[in-house]
Symmetry: C2
Subunit: 248 residues, 2 copies
DNA sequence: ATTGAAAATTTGTCCGGACATATTCATACA
DNA sequence: TGTATGAATATGTCCGGACAAATTTTCAAT
């Protein structure tokens, strides 16, 4: 160790080890020296070595396992960009207080085309809800929604006539299943006749179609929503921030 | 402490403190007891107390400051959803190996409408590059791009005729400025005449317009790109994952 | 060669102490 | 009253040690 260098020793050791990992001295999938060996090499206590290793683990460079050792799992800190949201409600860009005017509730097998678009197996029976989403006052139409619900959650059917909020939340509360992952797709396509009629827009306007698949921890599709927004008054915006976790 | 409870003591203490924070015993903006006081209350060593507090800090519940104390900054772990990418290149959904066929390079003041759309001050002079983005073979057109570059980076102008990759990367390498934040907007709009002509699509097709603003750490807009994709063959997809950081 | 138990290895948890450094607060001074 | 100084306080860093728990290795018995 060199006392002239700046910063605490655990940071110095952590930096040195990171350089070695980047240089390939400790290759990915290989193992770092044991804590005892690092203590000896740097003439520091095990406590300080562990602080250094903790930083490497937090940076996602190594994985530590009791009894086994510290394994290198990445050569460089990831530190990409993230788009984060506190709640899934931020996926809906419109104000949170909207209401869904349900047009019809059916139990059906989606046609081949919708099934492919939905990213779910064809031939499966889904609970389908369709309707117009309006602002809180019930005046301004926002989008035309078709929502496909996994039949495992058919129990929420009575509540669908006037859903109090987002339907995925209804399922989370009723069944205790949490949404673990959401896949979202945004595309432009010619607006469908019913959507144009309900939204009161010209059929020459295209729709921005937002498809969201809600999956649980097991990868099961809980819910798929298809929202057709009038293309002349909808835009989707998001902010990405450099991830701070990558630093060591 | 109760030895019957499961898990290590620092986790038990961390859980208890978190419950107190959630209950308001330690209100937000207030301070936790000092390490010494916690040592006494739980009859554990300072080392164990520090491990417990570290977990709370990592969960974003408290902020620790030397000489001051541990301040509560949130009552509940956030644990929202994140959409993360290792590189900004993942923002471009098409294959990474595309090339930009530059049509023209000008230095101009964007019109009022584009300036507003771009989210930058009007009246400013920008370096503007426009052209068609093609696949690697140069056969299939992908989108029509208009790129507005902050004049502070006018030095990259010679390299713009045949940009080797993404232009933001050119700036990062040449000037040593890193992109800290990206704002992205996706909307559908009638396709412009030049875009339709260059892309070889009907003017009745709408375009999916993706506007990206690249900002540095100081909030300066480095670059704005406007990409018009043919709406009949483009979709934007993203995956959101439940954030694992929220656990304590 | 395979299995199973014991031993060695390695990290996890927990304790004790000491000094450094940043912050806050009380006090004396102008 | 305002300011500067020093004391008290609180967290940061670092060392030493001990035992627990998980894993891997060794080696003997089948």
């Amino acid at each position: 160790m060199d006392a002239r260098k700046p910063g605490p020793r655990y940071a110095q050791v952590s930096d040195i080890l990171q350089q070695r990992i980047a240089a390939g001295t400790y290759p990915v999938a290989g193992f770092l020296p044991t804590e005892a060996e690092l203590c000896q090499e740097f003439s520091i206590s095990r406590h300080t070595v562990r602080d250094a290793l903790r930083r490497l683990a937090e940076a996602g460079l190594v994985q530590r396992r009791q009894g086994s050792g510290s394994q290198v799992i990445a050569a460089n800190p990831q530190g990409g960009y993230v788009h984060s949201m506190r709640s899934l409600d931020e996926l809906f860009q419109y104000a949170a207080d909207t209401r869904l005017r349900v047009d019809r509730i059916t139990e059906s097998v989606p046609d081949a085309v919708p099934a492919g678009m939905l990213g779910v197996d064809a031939g499966q029976v889904w609970l389908q809800v369709a309707g117009l989403r309006l602002d809180a006052a019930g005046r301004v139409p926002i989008c035309w929604s078709s929502i496909y619900i996994n039949r495992a959650f058919a129990g929420i059917m009575p509540d669908l006539a006037a859903p109090p909020g987002a339907i995925y939340r209804l399922i989370e509360e009723r069944y205790g299943v949490m949404v673990e992952r959401v896949e979202q797709e945004i595309r432009a396509m010619p607006i469908s006749a019913p959507a144009a009629a309900e939204l009161g827009v010209s059929r020459r306007i295209w729709a921005v179609q937002v498809v969201r698949r809600y999956l649980d921890a097991g990868g099961m599709v809980m819910l798929v929503s298809v929202n057709d927004h009038p293309g002349d008054r909808f835009s989707y915006s998001m902010q990405l921030q450099k991830d701070a976790r990558g630093r060591v």
